[in-house]
Structures are given as C-alpha cells and as structure tokens.
Amino acid sequence: MSQLLRFDQVSCVRGDRLLFRALDLCLSRGDALWLRGPNGTGKSSLIRMAAGLLRPFRGTVSRHERCALIDEAAALDAELPLRAALNIWGRIDGIDGTATIAAMEAMALSALSDVPVAMLSTGQRKRAAMARVIASGAPIWLLDEPANGLDSASIALLVAAIHAHRQGGGAILLASHVDLGADDVRQLHLGDQP
C-alpha cells in the first residue's frame, strides 16, 4: 500500500475550542507535508492524532505503517550516557546497535556517545531525539518542531536526513516555524479555516 497515513474529515477539539474541522490529508511514500500556522492552531494536536496519541473529535485517522515521533520531550533517561539511552529505544524497537550508531553519526553525535543525557544542550538533545527517529526505521516520521534549538549546521543534517528518508520511500509529517528549505514539500496552513 503506497498510502501510509490518511485523515478523513477529521475535526479536533481541545478544551472547548475547535481547532480545525473536516480536515483531509494523505501521505504516500516519498511525501512530505509541512504544517504551518500560528501558535495554538492545532499543529501539535494533528501530529499527536497521526501518532495515535489523541483521538479525533470527528472523522477517522488511518495509519498503515509504523511511525516515529519527535516532540518537545526527548524521552531519554537523563542519568544514562547518550548511547545507552538511545540503545534502550533500540532494543524496544527491535533494531540492532549498528543502526543506532549510524543514526548518531548522521546527526553528528558520535563524539557525545558517552556523555550523560543530562549534560546535553537543548539542541544536542533534539538531535539525539532525531537520531532515535532515524534509527527506528519507521516509514512514517512525525516531526513536531524538530528544528527547535538547532544551529544551522544541525538543521542541514536534519534536512539531509529528511531527504534520505524520502528517497528511501518514507513519508514525513512536519510541523515547524522555520523554513527548513527542503525542496518539493507540500504545505498545509492551519488556522485559515473559518
């Protein structure tokens, strides 16, 4: 199945506010969709719905493949060295250690592998979370503000990773305030609806 993720007439209500309604979207292999819009228009909620963490108020979300999520929480044990913290997720995802090492190289984290997660900076932690996404091998990437706290060199690594993932037949749903400059990306503006 080339369709990996599909929203049919999805509405989202948080608290007692309607964030968006009757939203349709579809992600196929190689696709990338960039969610844009002001704060509080439901970008993160949409991503959490795609991840299955939030139930839509109306409509259906269907996902046909595994997904990997990055959001504001890094979900890495602060007391562990970076590689050990990533390896826990590697074991849970059922991948071998080489995939984790390769992903750490892709995000330029190899030099930090013995540093405890607690000592990492915001940007380094974000890169570590990104390395987990890369290592997971999941076809769908759900990236909620992956560029937060990243310097320009790290953003270039992120864009390269996104590009490689799409080349390999993966799909990406991205919410970001900054233009990552990746080419051939569809855009969806939230908050424009009446």
């Binding site: 595994r66 990997a68 929480a73 044990d77 074991r91 059922g94």
Partner: protein, 217 residues
C-alpha cells in the same frame, strides 16, 4: 518478540529505582518507624512483642506510599509514556511491567529490612516468620496500588499526598488480614490476605492502564 521490549522496560525501571537511590527511602522510613515505636510505648518487652507485629504492618503500609511520586510522573514528563504508546504498547502492559518492577525494587529490600526491624520490636522467630510471609503475599498488591495511585495522580505537581489518600483505604484490608495472621485465633486470615492481594494485584494493571490512557487526553 514482545518479550524483549517488555524485559527492556522492566530492567530500565529496576535500574532507575536502584540507581537513583530513591529505592532506599521507603526502607529508611520503615526502619525509622520501627526504631521510634519502642521509644513511644516504653521498655515493656511483652507489650512491645504483642503490638510490634501490627506496627511492622503499619510501617510497611506507610512506607509503600513514599515512592508514589516517582513511579509514573517522571516518565510522563520526559515523554517516555507517549513514545511507548506510539510503539503500540498497551497501557495495561506498561502498568503491569511497572508493577512487577516496583514489587521487586520495593519488596525485596523491605523483606530484608524486616529482620533488624523485628529485633527492635521484640518479635520472636515465629512472629517474624508470619509477618514476612504475610508481607510477601501483600507486596504485589501494595505495588499494584502504588502504581495505580501514581497513574491517577501523575498530572499533578505534588501528587504523593493525594496518592496516599487514594491508596490507604484500599490497602486497609491487607493490613487487617495481614496483622490478623499474627493472632493465634486468626487461622483463616492468610487465605483472606491471599484473596485480597490477588484481587488488588489483578485490578491494578487495568485501573492504572485506564489512568495512563486518560493522561494523554
């Protein structure tokens, strides 16, 4: 296949309990109560030996309240629970794994601390044996209740006090039947303790799982 992720989580919980040193807090508390009690009732050995067994149960119960704020909330805040849910882990399995890990990281040190505590409270070998047997039966239920109240209160900033209020009433039957085993007339108490413990242990993963699901909304 499902075993490796579950075991990884189980060992992670054990390592975190052991490594942070937080595991010893309930045990220190348990020993403190056992140390303070003889000062409170005076040096009457007979009185101490008659009441000490029940006091060990009360101390164990109160000690089981202490870890509540570190069982679920850190994993919620660091995003670990969300990441597990994304990977298709059932909330009930997460709760069951946490209960198992907590039963070991809380229960084993408690049983070891029981030895010196029972000396302080003038318990002879037979009574020590009964308390140890009773606590071994009750520990899975206490762990189950602790994870349950931790999950129910994980969205609050300082949740251990409320968690205690939730846990204590449910743990009272354990206390009654557990301490009842020490009474020579209480022959049936152990069976009732087993039944109560089984019930609470089985309910725990489902109640905690539902609470974890509600946390995401």
């Amino acid at each position: 296949m499902i075993m490796i992720p579950s075991m990884t989580l189980f060992w992670r919980d054990l390592r975190r309990a052991w490594g942070s040193g937080a595991m010893w807090l309930p045990i220190v508390f348990f020993m403190l109560v056992a140390t303070a009690f003889p000062f409170g009732v005076g040096p009457d050995g007979q009185l101490l030996s008659r009441t000490g067994g029940g006091m060990l149960w009360v101390a164990a119960l109160l000690a089981s309240l202490m870890p509540i704020d570190r069982l679920i909330r850190p994993d919620k805040e660091s995003g670990v629970l969300d990441q597990l849910a994304v990977r298709g882990f059932a909330d009930e399995s997460i709760a069951a794994i946490k209960i198992a890990a907590h039963a070991i990281s809380f229960g084993l040190p408690l049983l070891i601390a029981l030895l010196p505590a029972s000396v302080l409270l003038a318990q002879d070998g037979a009574r020590l044996g009964l308390v140890a047997l009773g606590l071994s039966i009750a520990i899975p239920a206490l762990a189950s209740l602790a994870v349950m109240s931790a999950a129910l209160t994980a969205h609050m900033k300082s949740n251990s006090a409320l968690g205690g209020l939730l846990l204590l009433p449910l743990a009272i039957p354990l206390l009654i039947f557990g301490a009842g085993m020490l009474d020579p007339a209480g022959r049936g108490a152990i069976k009732l303790l087993m039944a109560t413990s089984l019930l609470l242990t089985v309910i725990g993963p489902f109640a905690a799982g539902a609470a974890l699901r509600a946390l995401r909304e």
